[in-house]
Each structure stands twice: as structure tokens, then as C-alpha cells.
Symmetry: C2
Subunit: 337 residues, 2 copies
């Protein structure tokens, strides 16, 4: 077992930023990257709205730059996934991965969230080339095009209205014959001449071209009326799916306080309910979900962790590989909190 000052769980913008900041504070952080370095950004084709890149940057490029930046200041990135944690017995905390176990004086949780998928043919293949889960991020790419929105809640309708700034028309496909969204929002959507509704219906398939000169690649969607069973094909260039997000908080269940949707609760200093555990990025953010906001939160979480560790510097146990006796000895200490 390896003793560390800071273990960062997750390697999206929040995690890599926390790594950069704790690295520059000479804390030599470990980043447990998960199955994919960079998280959701790694599968984003173009990041057009991270300030400082006027020409835009691809998701994988931005991840590479952020990882290199953190590593330059001593961050160690481990391609492994957390399988179990013990946060209940206070610092130092145990963090288990498939391959290793860490004992960490502090932990920064940045393990993100994932947009719910429809699970239909053509969806995953066209992420970044026509399928999107974020209007703020991708709306600009669909100027002058006809697009399709799936969903009927507040955020689906809010995003659909926002997308009319760019799109020529927005077809909202909804499983039921009324919206869950608030009345005022509904009325704004009904009044908007660019928005039409396809009720009682679901997407069956997203159809794309393989012509490499065409961008975005999506050309149509196949829509099924759930009441009549009738199928239609509707020309469209973009499919925006707003049916919710799920935070990746299962592994912390019962240990970190979360809201009803599973988002980890943090205060304004990015502290969780467990002293010494901090969180940043979409694991604790249902509102903003931007690279830029996750970077800001990762900075704050790291600065809070640095200050928390600094105040306890005299009491912290030594770092490095622990012997079997040392591992055993940490256990009673671990329960004193």
C-alpha cells in the first residue's frame, strides 16, 4: 500500500486542474484516471468554448495538454479505476483500484457524470459529429440547420429554446403528449415559431452519411409514434438529447453525502461532508457542466485541500510504500478522525 498526500479520483478538467494545483504546491498528487484519460472531454470532438484557444481545440488535444501540464508539476497519472473507498474512518483514507491500494491524507473527487443515452443505433457513433448532450457547448455548430431535440423536462425545453438562436428549426420529440417542463417555459416554447413538437414519439435510429466532406454527419432520424406504431423519417442535421445526467457517485454511496439525484454535496470551499475529502466538477455540479467551470472548481478544491493539509502538516504520517506493520498500524489511527 502506498501512502500519499493527495489522491485525485477522476481525470477530466476538474481532476487534471486539481492535479496541476496540488502539483505546483509540491504535493506530488496521484491521479486515478479511470478507464479513459480526460473523462467526457476525451470523447468531445471540438471544444470551442474553453477560453484561450481561439482556433478551438479537439477534446483529446485539450486532455493531452492538461495532463502534460499537471505531469510537468509532478502529478502521477495512473490508468486504473477506483473499485472501493473507505472514507468513513477519517484521514488517512483508503482508496482501492483494480491494481493498487492507496492511503491518502486527502482525496479530491472529480469523477464526473455521464449524460443519459437513448441507446439507439447511430447515437454513440455520432457523438461529436451530430449527436450532442449540451446545447451551450454545441449549438453554435448548427447555425442555419434543422435539428431534433429529445426530452420534455425543464432543461430540454430551455435548451431547445436556446438552440433556436442557431437552428432554422427545432423538432422536439417527446414520449408523451405533454411536457414536464414548467408552464412559463412551455409557453415560451409554444410561442417560438422555430419550434415544432412531435408528441407520443421516440427516436428509433439516427442516420448519418459516411461522406467525409459532410459535417455534421447526421442526415435524418427515424421516429416512431408510440401510440400508433407508425414510423417516419425526418431530415435533421443534429440530435440533442436532454434526458438527464447521472453522476458517477455509486462507489461513494453511503460515505459522501449527496442529493436525491446522487450528486455529491459540497460547500463554497468544495468540501464534502467528510473532512479531508473535497469534490469538484460534474460529480457535484448539476448546473454548469462546462470545461471552464470544472477547471474553476478543480482549482478551488485543490486550494482548499492544500490549505487543509498545510494546517495539519505536523501530524501527517510519512509518505511512500508502507510495510505490512505500518499498514496495520494505520487502521486504529484511521478511525480516530
Amino acid at each position: 500500500m502506498q501512502k500519499e498526500r493527495v489522491v485525485i479520483i477522476g481525470s477530466g478538467p476538474a481532476g487534471l486542474t486539481a492535479a496541476l494545483y496540488t502539483g505546483r504546491a509540491m504535493l506530488n498528487p496521484v491521479v486515478i484516471a479511470g478507464s479513459q484519460l480526460g473523462g467526457q472531454v476525451a470523447i468531445t470532438a471540438d471544444v470551442d468554448n474553453y477560453p484561450g484557444f481561439p482556433e478551438g481545440v479537439t477534446g483529446p488535444e485539450l486532455v493531452q495538454k492538461m495532463a502534460e501540464h499537471a505531469e510537468k508539476f509532478g502529478a502521477r497519472i495512473v490508468m486504473d479505476e477506483v473499485t472501493e473507498v473507505d472514507f468513513l474512518h477519517g484521514s488517512p483514507f483508503r482508496v482501492k483500484t483494480y491494481e493498487q491500494e492507496f492511503l491518502a491524507d486527502s482525496v479530491i473527487v472529480t469523477i464526473g457524470a455521464r449524460a443519459r443515452r437513448l441507446g439507439i443505433p447511430g447515437e454513440e457513433e455520432n457523438i461529436g459529429t451530430g449527436t450532442s448532450y449540451c446545447g451551450t457547448c454545441d449549438g453554435f455548430f448548427f447555425r442555419g440547420m434543422d435539428i431534433t431535440v429529445v426530452g420534455g423536462g425543464d432543461s430540454a425545453i430551455e435548451e431547445a429554446i436556446f438552440l433556436t438562436k442557431f437552428a432554422t428549426s427545432v423538432n422536439i420529440v417527446h414520449r408523451r403528449d405533454e411536457l414536464r417542463a414548467g408552464k412559463q417555459l412551455q409557453e415560451r416554447a409554444f410561442r417560438n415559431p422555430k419550434i415544432r413538437f412531435t408528441w407520443d414519439s421516440a427516436l428509433e435510429e439516427i442516420i448519418a452519411t459516411d461522406d467525409p466532406t459532410v459535417s455534421p454527419k447526421i442526415t435524418a432520424v427515424r421516429i416512431k409514434n408510440l401510440k400508433t406504431g407508425a414510423e417516419t423519417t425526418d431530415a435533421t442535421r443534429g440530435v440533442f438529447i436532454f434526458i438527464g445526467h447521472d453522476p458517477n457517485s455509486e462507489v461513494f454511496k453511503g460515505q459522501l453525502a449527496s442529493n436525491d439525484s446522487g450528486y455529491v454535496l459540497t460547500d463554497e470551499l468544495m468540501r464534502t461532508n467528510v473532512e479531508g475529502i473535497f469534490a469538484a466538477g460534474e460529480i457535484q455540479d448539476e448546473v454548469w457542466r462546462q470545461v471552464a467551470t470544472s477547471v474553476g472548481q478543480g482549482t478551488s478544491a485543490a486550494m482548499s485541500a492544500i490549505q487543509w493539509l498545510s494546517a495539519r502538516e505536523g501530524d501527517l504520517q510519512p509518505l511512500g510504500e508502507l510495510s505490512a506493520e505500518e499498514v496495520a498500524a494505520t487502521q486504529p489511527q484511521a478511525s480516530t478522525n
Copy 2:
């Protein structure tokens, strides 16, 4: 008078990010940049901790990139300073500069703060080459060097302790013979073998070399004992000055709610007390003060402004140059809020 959807006051990372986001939302924002495009970052030599730039980036370069990025999406940057605002009569708000007057449906205030200066010879000239007002930002550049800290409050002592991670020694020069900082923090400083104190003393001068091969440039400080009048010269490579910050909020006095130190108050959606006025960056942040956190806040403020405007889209008055009659007509409407 020019009618606008969004006027952004200030052009640091928060302002340029808000411009990028409102620009991408097709709101064609105006940025009133102030006397220097980029604010405090423009006078920062190296920004080592803005994620995505592993080789580092100079302050002026980063400002240039962020400005170009915002302009690419339609932001119009005006090199002028705000002299007067009317936020008290509701939206649309009047914003006056030396050269122009704007009528803005919404305003994002990102006008920043400034670190208090000692006002001694050698101080301004060496900002970025040895003089610093931010340990988190610049500590890493002083690894293995002797440095000087000025101040005796909580943040001065917290920063001095943080700087011992990098520096060989830290000399805290303080005007009095005791610290204002909290007892626990004081004790940590007193116990720290790298920290020494020079009591009842003030810096008189910062001395630097003009040898272009030497970095940082500072070589010594001249210190005066305020009780005895005795002067000494102390070798040092960095001078960190932590005597407080002042938010640039004078122009909003009596219109935007602020705390005792003058920082504009915002809620978690970056809203001020005036509906339609948002704020981001150091004008409302006494805690983090990082490029990365200001970028995050600028994003949030812009997204809130976009949503606020979107909900009122039907009621907003047309844009563009107003005639004298239209200007007159805005005044009664302006007071309805």
C-alpha cells in the same frame, strides 16, 4: 446612445470568458475593457497555472488569445473606461464611458480588484520579475531561494507558510511587534524553521540587478526599523506583498450591494442584488483570485445572463443606435422594474 443586449464591464479572464460565452449565444456583447486589456493578467509575466498551457504562457499572450477567442464569436472590445452607471432604475441599464453611453438589457460586472502596493522604489518595476502579490501563483518560481514576505494578517502568514514549500528561507517583515493573524496560524509560523521575523520594520526599497541573464531580478531589500530608524540591507530574491486587495467597485457604490471591504455580493448563480446585473471574477471573489477560477465564474455569470435574457426575449427593446426620442422614451420604462 447605443442599445445592447449585454454590456460586460472589465476585460480580465472573467470578462473575456463572459464575452466568449455570450458571443457564442449570438448576443454580440460589448466589452468595456478599461485602461488595460486583460486587467491584472496583462501585467503578469508568466501564467503557469492556467490549465492547458503546459509550456506556460505570458500574461499578455493569454490576454491576446482570450480576446481573440471572444472576438471570433462576435464580441466587440471597446478600449474605454466606465465613468458612471445607472443600475437603480432597472433594465435597460445605462452605462457611461468617457467616450460613449450604452443602454444595456443586462450587464456583467468583471472589473476586478487590485493588490495594495507598498509604493516603494523597485516595487512596480519588478512585478513579474521578483515582486509578487500571489503565493499560489508565483511560489513555484522561487524554489531554493531566500524570499521576503510583507504583512502580518491571516493571508500573509498563510501564504508565508505556503511559500516555505519552495523557498529556502522566508523573512516576514512586519510593521508591528506582533501579528494580526490568528493564534493557531501564528504558532505554525513560529514553529516553522524556515521562517524568521523582522519586527517593527518596513521595506524602504527593492533592489534589482539589470543583468539580463539573472531571473528573478531582485537581489536585496532595504529594511528600516521603524522604532530605531536603523536601516539594513537584506539579500533576497523575491518580495511577496500581502497587505490586502481593493475591489474596483467605487463606480457601483450605492447601486450594487457589497460587503464591508467593497466586494460585490453575488449568489450561486452570479446574480447581484439588481435583477439583470451579474458579476464574476475578483470584483466579487476575495478567496480564490486565480485566472482559472475567474474563467469559471465568467462562464457561470454569462450562462445566467443568457438564461435571464432568454426568459425575457419577447419584452426586450430593439438593438442599435437610438434616436433622441427613443432615448427619452427609455427613461420612464427604465424606472418600472
